[in-house]
């Protein structure tokens, strides 16, 4: 503990650099995953796509069960065979996009499907187009649940991103792996605490965002 503190005081620049690298990976991968998952989530909720939805959600769940080390192991040769750089940032981002899909995808799917059919019929009966029903009724009502999925995905990925340091992607995993190799407990603790704090702060901030994007009418309904 004391060692970790001393290291941080001695080399604050390193800590800032690892943290920023870590955040950057998360931002890119979860950003892309969010867009893909919401789009895919909306699409699989469409009429007559129930079977596709089952398959897509099943695949996303399988992805979640692949250990992250194995995932990097699968992706590296794949990148190499495509002529891409087979280690570092790119591989890490693709892996984290895959991990970031399921929570958002599942929540989008569930939230949209759970919108009261009476409300959708009211919209349709008043002459809303399918797109208007989506943007004016389904999505606003689904937003809090979709955001909860994003929050979940980010927290999971902050943990997984620490392991991406092993394939040279940088981030707060760097001091952890360096500590393991050199038996430096202070570095391990520094990285671990950094990851924990980052996850905690991200969770709290996204919690605020979640509340902020929740339609006012739903908040008042909850207060009752």
């Amino acid at each position: 503990m004391v060692g970790a503190w001393e290291y941080m005081v001695r080399r604050p620049d390193m800590l800032v650099e690892w943290t920023l690298q870590h955040l950057w990976i998360i931002l890119i991968s979860n950003g892309i995953a969010m867009v893909l998952a919401v789009a895919l989530g909306i699409w699989i909720t469409g009429k007559g796509r129930e079977h596709i939805a089952d398959i897509v959600l099943y695949l996303a769940e399988i992805i979640m069960t692949i250990p992250s080390l194995a995932m990097f192991g699968f992706l590296m040769p794949l990148f190499a065979s495509l002529g891409l750089k087979s280690f570092g940032f790119g591989v890490a981002v693709v892996a984290l996009i895959l991990y970031g899909l399921l929570p958002v995808l599942r929540n989008t799917h569930t939230a949209i499907r759970e919108v009261d059919p009476a409300m959708i019929e009211a919209g349709r009966g008043m002459g809303m187009s399918e797109l208007q029903i989506l943007t004016r009724v389904k999505l606003p009502l689904a937003t809090p649940v979709i955001m909860a999925g994003l929050r979940n995905a980010v927290v999971i990925n902050i943990g997984i991103a620490a392991i991406a340091a092993m394939i040279g992607a940088g981030g707060l995993g760097v001091p952890i792996f360096r500590g393991i190799r050199n038996l430096r407990m202070d570095l391990i603790i520094l990285g671990a605490i950094g990851v924990t704090i980052l996850a905690w702060v991200a969770d709290a901030l996204l919690g605020l965002v979640e509340r902020w994007v929740t339609p006012e009418g739903l908040k008042r309904a909850r207060q009752r």
Binding site: M119, R124, G125, M126, G127, L141, G217, R220
Partner: protein
């Protein structure tokens, strides 16, 4: 006007929900689609705004085949009200009410103005207290009023209402029904109203379409339905026996309207027209020295100069002691649908309208339910 011609609905699995129904709803008429649950009444209504596609037959809305219009344009031109759960919880009262006007891209100020007007119409005043509230902050009855206001958003000539007062406690429901009848008296929409509640149907409807197993059994006024049910199903479903029994126990004088609106035979028709407008009726009773001479109807006002020229002599009259069940059948033979009440010397004492009888029946039947 809404006209259904041999309308049928067959689902892909072969279920015949509606088996060739034809009827017409005249402009300004309140038509109730009544029947046991699963009889096809809601399906029939939803084919009017194409929420359910029609299998065969034709539906004309104001003379236009409803499949010829763009489906969203069609729906924006037809008011649609469902139970209070259909309000959008994430939108304010004002946003809910102006859903259709906003789809039609009305200007913001006009939308707000319309929302205020409609809130006042449905009795949510002062409107400022409600405009920016959310559905969660309203009581069930208030939400239902917003639902009605929303269906009137862009002032459509035609309204479809799917058990709009279904999910509400009986006392509030009664009050909403009364208020809606008052509103309908002002706005005179052409209405198709679905319910399985016979009391509601008798109370609200100008005419009732009784549906059973996808077929139209009887299409008549509530009075006809009660006093001349076509078959045993109708008799049982509308509780005609019980209703008529209840009427047998009462006499005309207990429910008649004393001091009806009258005119003298020499009155000029232009002043008669004004008088009708001021009392909001399509008829008046002509008297000559207190004696009942007959009916003056709005439709005939252009056909002469004085009341004398157009008066329709009464086919029949009732006395204060006539039992109500007899009065009801006499009423059905009267040109105007009402019955003059006179004493032994033909002096006018009052008028019996179907509303008088309707109240007795509805009261009696709801008492029966409570027991």
């Amino acid at each position: 006007m809404i006209k259904l011609e041999e309308v049928a609905k067959v689902y892909p699995d072969g279920t015949e929900a509606v088996k060739g129904i034809s009827f017409e709803i005249q402009n300004g008429e309140f038509c109730v689609l009544l029947g046991p649950s699963g009889c096809g009444k809601t399906t029939t209504m939803k084919m009017i705004n194409r929420l359910i596609p029609i299998t065969s037959g034709k539906i004309l809305v104001d003379g236009t085949d409803n499949t010829k219009l763009d489906v969203n344009d069609l729906r924006r031109g037809i008011g649609y009200a469902i139970q209070e759960i259909g309000l959008f919880p994430h939108m304010t009262v004002s946003e809910n009410i102006t859903t259709v006007p906003r789809l039609l891209r009305w200007a913001k100020g006009k939308c707000r103005q319309r929302a205020i007007e409609l809130l006042e119409l449905v009795g949510l005043t002062p409107a400022d207290n409600f405009l920016d509230k959310y559905p969660a902050e309203l009581s069930g009855g208030q939400r239902q009023r917003v639902g009605v206001a929303r269906s009137l958003g862009a002032d459509p000539p035609v309204l479809l209402m799917d058990e709009p007062f279904g999910a509400i406690d009986p006392i509030t429901r009664e009050r909403l029904q009364d208020e809606f009848l008052r509103i309908q008296g002002e706005i005179k929409k052409t209405i198709a109203f679905v319910t399985h509640d016979i009391n509601e149907a008798i109370k609200m409807g100008d005419r009732i379409v009784l549906i059973r197993a996808g077929k139209l059994v009887q299409y008549d006024t509530p009075a006809e339905l009660l006093s001349r049910p076509k078959d045993d199903f109708v008799r049982d479903f509308v509780g005609a026996d019980r209703a008529l029994k209840s009427l047998r126990l009462m006499r005309v004088k207990e429910v008649m309207r004393a001091s009806p609106p009258t005119v003298s035979l020499e009155e000029g028709l232009s002043s008669v027209r004004k008088q009708m407008e001021s009392v909001g009726l399509k008829w008046l009773m002509a008297v000559d020295d207190e004696r009942f001479m007959g009916w003056v109807s709005w439709e005939d006002l252009g056909k002469g100069e004085k009341v004398r020229d157009i008066v329709i002599p009464p086919a029949t009259t009732a006395t204060p002691n006539t039992p109500l069940n007899q009065a009801l059948s006499l009423m059905l033979n009267s040109a105007i649908g009402n019955l003059g009440v006179v004493d032994d010397e033909e002096r006018l004492l009052g008028v019996l309208t179907f509303d008088c009888i309707r109240n007795v029946i509805v009261e009696f039947q709801s008492e029966g339910e409570e027991r």
